[in-house]
C-alpha cells in the first residue's frame, strides 16, 4: 500500500506501552499512525488530522473513551465517516450495547490479540469510502 494514500489511524490509550505496541504493528503494515494519550489530545488530533479510523481505549483518566467516541461522532464534517473501534476489557452484552449507543462501529477486547486487531482494522477500513 502506498504510504501517502493509506488511511491514517488514531490510537488513543493512556497506557504508553499498549499504544506503542499497536503503533508498531500498524506502521509495519503501512498505515500512518497517530497516538494520543488522553481524550483531549485525541480530540485535538481528530480535528487536525482527520483520521479514517480511531482505536479508542475505554478506561482513561479524564474523558472516558465513551465520551470521546460521542464527541467524535458529533463532529459536523468528519463525525459520520470515521470508523471507531473501542478497546475494552468489558465485553458483556450490556457493554456492547453501551458501545452501540455512543456510536462505535466495532470493539476489541483487551488484552489485545494482534491478529484480531489487524483483522478488525482492515475490515473497518474496507468500509471507509475513499476520499477523492
Amino acid at each position: 500500500m502506498d504510504r501517502s494514500s493509506a488511511p491514517s489511524i488514531l490510537v488513543v490509550d493512556d497506557n504508553d506501552d499498549n499504544a506503542e505496541i499497536v503503533r508498531a504493528l500498524l506502521e509495519a503494515r503501512g498505515f500512518p499512525v497517530l497516538v494520543a494519550h488522553d481524550g483531549d489530545q485525541a480530540m485535538a488530533l481528530f480535528e487536525s488530522a482527520r483520521p479514517s479510523l480511531v482505536l479508542l481505549d475505554v478506561l482513561m483518566p479524564g474523558r472516558s473513551g465513551w465520551e470521546v467516541c460521542r464527541l467524535m461522532r458529533q463532529h459536523p464534517e468528519h463525525g459520520r465517516s470515521v470508523r471507531i473501534i473501542m478497546l475494552t476489557a468489558l465485553a458483556e452484552w450490556n457493554d456492547k450495547q453501551s458501545a452501540l449507543q455512543t456510536g462505535a462501529d466495532d470493539y476489541i477486547t483487551k488484552p489485545i490479540d494482534l491478529a484480531d486487531l489487524e483483522l478488525r482494522v482492515r475490515r473497518n477500513l474496507a468500509l471507509v469510502t475513499p476520499h477523492a
Binding site: D40, M43, A44, E47, S48, P61, G62, R63, W66, R70, L71, Q74, H75, P76, G79, W93, N94, D95, K96, Q97, S98, A99, L100, Q101, T102, G103, A104, D105, D106, Y107, R120, R123, N124, L127
Partner: protein
C-alpha cells in the same frame, strides 16, 4: 482561597463518598436535598459550585440540568447502571459516573465537569474545546444556531422593533423513534425535520424577519419572529393556522422520506408568546422568560390535543373503526412466507400508528377494550389469509393476559397463533406471569419476545419467558452491514436462541445489504419493507395468489 463564601456541592444522594470527594475538591459543604427540590435549591444557593444527581426520573433530571446550566453550574450524574449512561448523553449532563464510586473518582468527574463549564464560560484557547464550543453554538445535526448565538444576533433588531414573537415548537415522540429505531434513525429524522421546517418558513413571506434556533432540548426548536417595521404582528389565529400547515408539511415530508410508520408517530405542538422590549429588564431574562411562556403554551396545546384524541379513540371503539395490516415474515433462505404479523391501525389519521393508538388507550384506561377489538379484527382477517401452516403473530400487552376475555378463540386454532410480548414492557412479577403464559402454552399458543436486545432487559429475562421466537430489536438491524458490534450481538442472540430452542426473527430489513448480513449470520426468519410492505388481508392474499 480568600473568598468567604462557602462553596456548596448540591446533591440528592446520601452517598458518603460525596463528602470525601467534596473534601478533595475543597468544597466546604455538601447539601443533600430530595431530587424534586434540587431545581429550586440550585436557584437559591448562590454559592453552589456543582450538582451531583442520582435521580432516575427523567423529567426531574431535565429540570435540574436546565436550572444548573442557566447558572453555569456543572451537573454530574451518579448512575447505577448503563441506562444512566444513556441518560447522561440524552440530557447532556456535564459528566457521569457509575455509582457506587470512590471519592477520588467522583472528585475527578466533578473536576472535569467544572473545567468544562468554566471553559465554556471564559472562552476557549484549546482546539478541542473549540469543537465543543461550536457544538454548543450550532446544533451539529441541524446546523441551526443555538439560543445564546441568536440572542446576540437579534438584540439590535428586537430593541429596534420593540417586540418579538417567540414560537416554541415541541416535537413529541421523537424519543420514541429513537427507542424503536435507534439513534441513527433519529438523527436522520431530525435532519429531515429541520430541512422541512426551513423550507416551509422560506416559502412563506410574512413580512417579518424569521430566526430559527435549535434548542438544547434536542427535539424542540425555538423560532423568533420579529415583525418588520410597519408590519403588524401576527394574530393568534394566524399563528395557529401556520402551525397547522407546518405540521402537515413536515408530516408529509417525513412520510415521503421515512415512511408512514415513522411519520405517524410524528406530532408537533406550537406555543407562542409575545415579548415587549423594556430596557429595565436584562435582555436575556426577557427572552428566556418568553421562551418559557411559549413552552408552557405549547404544553397546553398538547393537553388539549390529548383530550381530543381520547374522544376520537372512544369513537373508534364505539364504531369499531380499526383495520389490520398484515406484515409477512419470511424464511430468509427461500423467501417463503412463514407467517404474518398483525398491525392494528385506527381509521382516524391521528390514530393511524399502533403505538400512538395504544398510548392514548393507556392514558384513558381503555387498553383492554382496544386490544379486544384489534384481536377480533386480526383473527377475522387471518382466517382467510393463513395458508398451509402459516402462523399469525399477534402483539399483546402483558396486561392482556389478565383480561378474562383473552384467549377465548373459537375462530382459529391456537397452534397457529404466536403471541408477541415486547421486551419494552416491564414485567414486574415474573413467576406469576410465567404461570399465566403456561396455561396459554398448554392450549397450543406460542410466544415471541419482541424488541429483543433493545437494552431493556438482558438475555436472562428473555430466557425466563421461554419464547418460541425471538424478534430482534429494529435498532440492531438498521445498518447492521456496516456495524460489527451489531453483528456480534445478533450472532450472540442466534446462538442463545438455538440453545433455547427458539427461532430468531430480524425485523426492519430495509436494504439488501442488511438482508445479506443477517442471512450470513444465520438468522432464519426476516421481515421488513425490502421483502414486503404491510398490507390489508385482501391485498396480501391477492398478491400472494398472483405470485403462485
Amino acid at each position: 482561597m480568600t473568598t468567604t463564601a462557602r462553596a456548596v456541592l448540591l446533591t440528592d444522594s446520601a452517598d458518603t463518598a460525596l463528602a470525601d470527594a467534596a473534601g478533595i475538591l475543597q468544597l466546604d459543604v455538601v447539601l443533600v436535598r430530595p431530587a424534586s427540590e434540587l431545581p429550586a435549591a440550585i436557584d437559591a444557593h448562590a454559592s453552589a459550585r456543582a450538582v451531583v444527581v442520582s435521580t432516575d426520573d427523567p423529567s426531574l433530571l431535565r429540570a435540574i440540568v436546565e436550572h444548573a446550566s442557566a447558572r453555569r453550574i456543572p451537573v454530574v450524574l451518579a448512575g447505577e447502571n448503563d441506562v444512566a449512561y444513556r441518560r447522561a448523553i440524552e440530557f447532556r449532563v456535564d459528566d457521569w459516573y457509575l455509582a457506587p464510586a470512590s471519592a477520588v473518582e467522583i472528585s475527578w468527574r466533578i473536576r472535569s465537569a467544572l473545567a468544562r463549564v468554566a471553559a465554556q464560560a471564559f472562552g476557549y484557547s484549546h482546539r478541542v474545546d473549540r469543537v465543543e464550543y461550536e457544538e454548543m453554538l450550532y446544533d451539529p445535526l441541524t446546523g441551526m444556531p443555538t439560543l445564546p448565538v441568536m440572542l446576540e444576533r437579534t438584540r439590535g433588531l428586537i430593541k429596534d422593533r420593540g417586540e418579538v414573537i417567540i414560537h416554541y415548537l415541541n416535537f413529541v415522540r421523537y424519543s420514541k423513534i429513537e427507542e424503536i429505531y435507534g439513534w441513527e434513525k433519529l438523527d436522520q429524522v431530525l435532519e429531515t425535520t429541520a430541512a422541512a421546517v426551513h423550507e416551509f418558513l422560506e416559502s412563506r413571506s410574512l413580512g417579518t424577519t424569521r430566526m430559527m434556533v435549535g434548542f438544547p432540548n434536542d427535539d424542540d426548536f425555538i423560532f423568533l419572529q420579529i415583525p418588520d417595521k410597519g408590519q403588524p404582528v401576527p394574530t393568534e389565529a394566524q399563528i395557529t393556522e401556520a402551525g397547522r400547515q407546518l405540521q402537515l408539511f413536515v408530516g408529509n415530508r417525513l412520510e415521503e422520506v421515512h415512511g408512514e410508520d415513522v411519520s405517524s408517530l410524528f406530532e408537533i405542538f406550537i406555543g407562542s408568546s409575545h415579548v415587549y422590549y423594556t430596557p429595565k429588564i436584562r435582555f436575556e431574562r426577557l427572552i428566556y422568560r418568553g421562551v418559557r411562556e411559549a413552552a408552557n403554551a405549547a404544553r397546553s396545546v398538547e393537553q388539549r390535543e390529548r383530550v381530543r384524541r381520547t374522544a376520537t379513540l372512544k369513537g373508534v371503539l364505539h364504531e369499531g373503526s380499526v383495520y389490520i395490516d398484515f406484515h409477512p415474515i419470511v424464511l430468509a433462505e427461500t423467501g417463503e412466507i412463514f407467517g404474518y404479523e398483525a398491525l392494528a391501525r385506527g381509521v382516524p389519521r391521528n390514530l393511524r400508528s399502533p403505538e400512538v393508538m395504544f398510548e392514548v388507550a393507556a392514558e384513558a384506561d381503555l387498553v383492554w377494550e382496544l386490544s379486544r377489538l384489534c384481536r377480533a379484527r386480526a383473527l377475522a382477517g387471518a382466517k382467510e389469509l393463513l395458508k398451509g401452516d402459516q402462523l399469525l403473530f399477534l402483539n399483546v400487552d402483558p396486561h392482556d393476559f389478565a383480561d378474562p376475555g383473552f384467549g377465548v378463540l373459537d375462530s382459529i386454532d391456537p397452534r397457529r397463533i404466536v403471541l408477541e410480548i415486547t421486551e419494552r414492557t416491564a414485567i414486574k412479577d415474573y413467576p406469576k406471569f410465567r404461570e399465566r403464559l403456561r396455561s396459554f402454552r398448554e392450549r397450543g399458543f406460542r410466544f415471541a419476545v419482541d424488541d429483543a436486545g433493545s437494552g431493556y432487559a438482558g438475555l436472562g429475562s428473555i430466557a425466563n419467558l421461554e419464547p418460541d421466537f425471538i424478534k430482534l430489536d429494529i435498532s440492531l438491524i438498521n445498518s447492521i452491514d456496516t456495524n460489527f458490534i451489531k453483528q456480534n450481538l445478533v450472532e450472540t442472540m442466534v446462538g442463545f436462541a438455538t440453545e433455547q430452542g427458539a427461532m430468531v426473527i430480524a425485523e426492519g430489513i430495509e436494504r439488501a445489504e442488511e438482508l445479506d448480513t443477517v442471512k450470513r449470520i444465520g438468522v432464519p426468519l426476516v421481515q421488513g419493507f425490502l421483502l414486503h410492505h404491510p398490507a390489508r388481508a385482501g391485498a396480501v392474499a391477492g398478491a400472494h395468489a398472483g405470485r403462485e
